[in-house]
Amino acid sequence: MPLLDIKNLTLEIDAAGGWIKALDMVNLTIDSGEIRALVGESGSGKSLIVKAIVGAIPEHWRIRADRMTWKGRDLLTMSVAERRIIMRNDIAVVFQDPINSLDPSASLGQQLMESIPNQLLEKGWIWNRNQQRRQIATKLLHKVGIREAELCLRSYPHEIADDICQKFMIATALVSAPRLLIADDPTRGMEITTKTQILKLMTQLNKTRDLSILFVSHDLLAISSMADTMTVLYCGQTVESGKMTQLRKRPLHPYTKALLDSAPSFRKDLPPKSTLTSLNGSIPTFQHLPIGCRLGPRCPRAQKECVKVPNVRRIHEHYYSCHFPLHRDQQ
């Protein structure tokens, strides 16, 4: 049984012109010990999926799913308290911009220590416990690669550098020894050395702690180096998902192919100074979504049938939703 299983998740947002399906029939599964990448352009709803999983969706938005379970327990119907316990013990999130996810008026130590669950502490008096918390916090910071741990614990968020902040966020996420780490674009705007450090850290955690990671990003290079499986999102619809190697070797959906082609570092046969391929047009805004397959207007292979939403088809572990997938030509 997968850890997290989401089937046909639909999220409707109220906008000026009525209800808009920001997420439309999204499927996502995460197995134990797996690194799954969630890829898509900006505005394709990646962060919304993260928010839906952690339950940070505003109450008046409509959320529906055929199945949205954590270890077999339905996340949508359970009580707030039960969900909070799952969030406290099993799921941890690293948000997009670390600086804004930290309380500016509390020291980092306070914020890290408050998320240490009580069961990690040995029994003792209050002051003993505080000392234990401090020790655990220092150890954690060392583990994620922050050298001056004491200084870091004393500092306030505005006093530390961005990459330390990001590592700190990972430390806070790991404090409760979660089963799943959701990393929402953790390497955004970082230079290459820090980025590699953070990616290495995550892969290491995945291997040593059997930690599942949902890696949300649009950095294909980073994803291909660490992810086992990948789900491609376009405009709130999952277009294709499967094993990383398979997807890279033989994408079935035109969008996945376009996405892979647009990353020059993936193409060895690229002659110098040649134009890079990209899809025409740009991702539609949520106010002007096309009906049916949302890639329709931009798709080079679109035909009449594409105004209907394609069903999910599968070849072994490889899921795709397209009326005219790429392998049809080859037959």
Partner: protein, 343 residues
């Protein structure tokens, strides 16, 4: 930190300088003889005039007159009141504590009422609780203080007879003036029936304090509510929720401090409104404070008293505003925006 103290001290000194300059120029701006406006003494003879000219350096330039004026201010010689003939310094020091007392109780009460209700309204944003609290606060905010005070007199003292009509304490008690704060004075004094005196003083205090509190707590409620609404959707609150903290923990550990920090300077700005209201209320309830005293001075065209009273009240307000502002800066951990942890 030192930087902030110096900066605020500068602000204080400059503002007080401008205020004193203005108060000095009032002596010339008011109708009548500037010498009389400064000293408050009626000039009886040429010799008397000579003495006053000598005292206020009126035979020298305006700049020297001003420095002399400042010197006298610091010596405590603020001139005489034209109506009572008593030294203004003593009169003001007699009535100012009464106003400070009234304003302090009203402020404390409004903080106790306004901040928790503001939290409640902000946390229940877009819900019935929020709307009803907002409606009540709009009502409290829009009712004029003097009218409210009169209505309260009408209902509680004239109709129901529960509370005394005016004054600070019943005339039966003879409390000697030591600090000027009535409750403190009663405790310090050695009169008989201290408990009854305190109860009596509190009874006198209820209506004046309440009529100021209604407006001030409505303002504080709205400020707090707005701040909570701005803070709660922020990223770090959402992040705290995803760490599995409960609503209560998230608010107590992250929401409250962050929503209170930005409104402390705004509260300092409200001290002006608070004092104005206190002065209006004093007149209605015959509370022997600076407001009552100033209004009397205005009625009697007592120019030296108006000049000195204005200076005292505005200096107090400036001092209060600047020190609250400084306090807000000092407790804000984000004030020094410089990094000290590097890779």
């Amino acid at each position: 930190m030192f930087r902030y103290i110096v900066r605020h001290f500068n602000l204080l000194v400059v503002t007080l300088f401008v205020l004193s300059l203005f108060s000095f120029s009032l002596a010339y701006l008011f109708p009548g003889d500037p010498l009389v406006n400064l000293s408050g003494e009626t000039i009886q003879s040429e010799q008397h005039r000579e003495v006053l000219i000598e005292k206020y350096r009126f035979n020298e330039s305006v700049v020297l007159q001003y420095t002399r004026y400042i010197g006298l201010l610091f010596e405590g010689d603020w001139g005489l009141s034209k109506s009572s003939g008593l030294p203004l310094y003593d009169e003001i020091m007699h009535s100012l504590p009464a106003s400070i007392e009234l304003a302090t109780y009203a402020l404390l009460l409004s903080l106790i009422i306004g901040i928790p209700l503001g939290f409640l309204a902000g946390l229940k944003h877009h819900k019935a609780t929020d709307y009803s609290l907002l409606a009540i606060s709009v009502m409290g905010y829009s009712v004029p203080v003097f009218w409210m005070a009169l209505l309260m007199i009408l209902v509680f003292s004239l109709q129901l007879g529960w509370l005394p009509l005016s004054g600070r304490i019943s005339l039966l008690f003879d409390v000697p003036h030591t600090s000027g704060f009535i409750l403190l004075d009663i405790m310090l004094s050695d009169i008989k029936n201290k408990e009854t005196a305190i109860v009596n003083a509190l009874q006198h205090m209820v209506m004046p304090v309440l009529s100021i509190t209604i407006v001030t707590s409505a303002i504080i409620l709205r400020l707090t509510r707005r701040s909570v609404i701005e803070v709660m959707p922020k990223g770090f609150i959402q992040a705290a929720y995803t760490r599995g903290l409960s609503d209560y923990q998230v608010f107590m550990r992250h929401g409250m401090r962050n929503s209170l920090l930005p409104i402390i300077p705004l509260l300092a700005m409200q001290s002006t409104t608070l004092f104005t209201n206190a002065m209006i209320v004093e007149v209605i309830y015959s509370w022997p404070g600076i407001g009552d005293w100033l209004i009397q001075a205005i009625y009697q065209r007592d120019f030296p008293a108006i000049r000195a009273g204005m200076l005292a009240v505005s200096a107090l307000v400036v001092l209060l505003t600047v020190s609250i502002d400084l306090f807000a800066k000092l407790i804000d951990p984000t004030r020094d925006k410089s990094a000290h942890v590097t890779i």
